[in-house]
Amino acid sequence: MEELMIKIDNVTKQYKLGQIGGTTLRDEMQRLNARIRHKEDPTKKIGAKDYNRGETFMALNGVSFEVRKGERVGIIGHNGAGKSTLLKLLSRVTAPTSGEIGLNGRIASMLEVGTGFHPELTGRENVYMNGAILGMTKKEIDAKIEDIIEFSECRQFIDTPVKRYSSGMYVKLAFSVAAHLDSEIMIMDEVLAVGDMAFQQKCLDKMNDVSRKDGRTILYVSHNMNTIRQLCDRVVVLDHGTVIFDGDVEEGIKVYSSAFSNSSYSLDYSTVPRLSWLKNTKVKCLYAEYIGKNNIIFTGSEAPRLLLRWKNEEDITNLCLRIEIKTTDRTPIATAVCFDFYSGNKGETGESVFRLNISSLTSGEYNVNYTFFLKDSLGGNIDVDCVRGLSLIRETADCLIWNRKNWGAIQLPNLEAENV
């Protein structure tokens, strides 16, 4: 078994709520005086409710996990789950309230891009600065400066002050420095968000490369599940300061995404607010339900039978419907259309049952959108109502273990081999 690089043992981080810092010495003295004499706090606003003195917030509440050498761990969770706090503790920006973290090696953190860049200095000078801030010595940087400049794609601008750089160039240079560190543990927090697609890919490849070749340990925080899939071989899911999942990437992403989807098999839309771009509400969807189901799981060859009910706000001819299927991280993957299935007068309520053929979808959970639309005279379409539909989970006994990361979510009909 590989050696342990990071051991996080029952770590908590507590923040005080309400006014801290920014308080003045005078206020503090008055408060102290009042406390000694058991009087009411004189700095409190009149009529204000008792402020949050003493109230605390646990950003991390007993987090424990271990990371071994060479692992690439993704840390995911909703906003406020404690990801950044955890990284701050790991990179020693602030200290934990209790618990212990053991690190076996140098840590390089790329928490935000361009950290410590000085606008007046040139790119080259900033490479040295940034490297030194991240713990490299001048000699180490000397040995790598050419690689760093080459990787950053900024050679032409390397002797220009970075205040004239574009934000993309900033990122590239900053990332290049961090990627060439000799540290055993690398922490990355959404650093790739600013670079263009090609550079993002290059970074991921580089990270993969250093991790596999040199056995570097990587902690990566992102909301982009695709990059998590590409880079990580394990994920830790945080929720409200605790670890709720630790293990396989796809499983973890499912745990993380499940909080977004709703697992009900019927929905009432009559009061759901619509998106603001939908000005043209000639039709209003009222209700959706999977007929004959009390869950959203469809196994084997079972096809969802979807009941939709809607109200005509105006006279309608040739109403059409799109059912758009997306993965749980909202990447659209397929759409089914039903043309001209309904015409009706203003004020009437319409109702139809649609059979959705999902035999091409591989196992997994999917989000669904229902969009009613009309065709215009030019052959385009005008969306008249759009709602977030019922999610669906498909479970099939695939004859092979589907590699979703590389194969996608759709399995086309089987190939036919022709004898030539």
């Binding site: 602030t94 690190l103 030194a132």
Partner: protein
């Protein structure tokens, strides 16, 4: 399986854990910070580092006119027939004071000014005030060189009491003391300002008062003998007078007061170090 970890992060902190060894390992960063501070200060200026000379030169001229010619304050540290050019007298005080106040001012903002970087990456926080003190030392060096030019001029021309004496060696420990004192006070204030911003306001004003309480614009002869012990408790006073004694070859030097000011300096510096290393662990939560 128990395994020894190279780094341990816990909630506990011992009082004398000052990260000095770690700070030394980051000496390259100190050098780069010094370079950054110095280079960026004079970027996009026409005169560049000449500004380091122009400022104290103008201040000295103003002092000579106002305190010397208009107010007629004494420039003698000790009684006697010593002749010292007012210009040289004010300049010596000025360059010491401008180093002291500049360093104190800059280091007192260590946490607040660097919070963007310090909130993202760990490096020994002490690196910042140390490099500030060093980069100001470069300016001080330039100013001292300018001073020595004038000094040599008066020395060669003659007509003054200035002599070169073995006391000149005292410049080195005195400059060191000046560095430690300014940095020590600065990091105490920077530690306290993470919670109490009032102190940041106090720094500018306090430094002005402190200057009046130190023999910068006047000679020590202005102070009545019976108050001298009180006046000497200001650790800057022996620094300034010793500096002048060392350069002029005559003046006021009392070993007792000099050692007391060293003791005060060291105590302040270590209080600063302890406070600083206490605050640096969690200052991001309160700043």
């Amino acid at each position: 399986m128990t395994q020894q970890f190279k780094t341990k992060i816990t909630s506990k902190h011992s009082l004398f854990d000052l990260h000095l060894k770690e700070t030394f390992e980051y000496r390259d960063l100190i050098a780069l910070f010094v370079k950054r501070d110095f280079v960026s200060l004079y970027k996009q200026t026409v005169l560049g580092p000449l500004w380091a000379i122009i400022q104290p030169l103008l201040t000295t001229v103003v002092f000579t006119i106002i305190f010397g010619n208009l107010a007629g304050l004494t420039t003698a540290d000790v009684a006697g027939d010593y002749i010292v050019p007012g210009f040289l007298f004010y300049m010596s005080g000025n360059i010491v004071w401008s180093y002291f106040s500049g360093t104190l001012n800059a280091t007192s903002g260590t946490f607040i000014n660097n919070r963007a970087t310090m909130g993202k990456v760990y490096y020994p926080r002490l690196v910042s005030p140390i490099s500030t003190a060093c980069s100001h030392l470069i300016s001080f060096g330039i100013q001292l060189a300018m001073f020595l030019v004038f000094w040599a001029f008066y020395l060669i021309r003659g007509g003054t009491s200035i002599t070169v004496s073995p006391m000149l060696l005292l410049v080195i420990p005195t400059v060191l003391e000046m560095m430690l004192l300014a940095t020590g006070c600065g990091i105490i204030i920077s530690s306290l300002t993470t919670k109490y911003r009032d102190l940041a306001m106090l720094v500018g004003f306090g430094l002005q008062l402190w200057q009046y309480g130190s023999p910068i614009a006047y000679g020590l002869q202005l102070i009545p003998e019976r108050l001298m012990w009180l006046y000497m408790l200001n650790p800057v006073t022996p620094i300034v007078t010793t500096f002048r004694y060392a350069l002029f070859g005559f003046g006021y030097f009392s070993l007792t007061y000099y050692l007391i000011s060293w003791a005060v300096t060291l105590v302040l510096f270590f209080i600063g170090l302890i406070l600083f290393s206490r605050i640096e662990r969690t200052f991001m939560d309160t700043i």
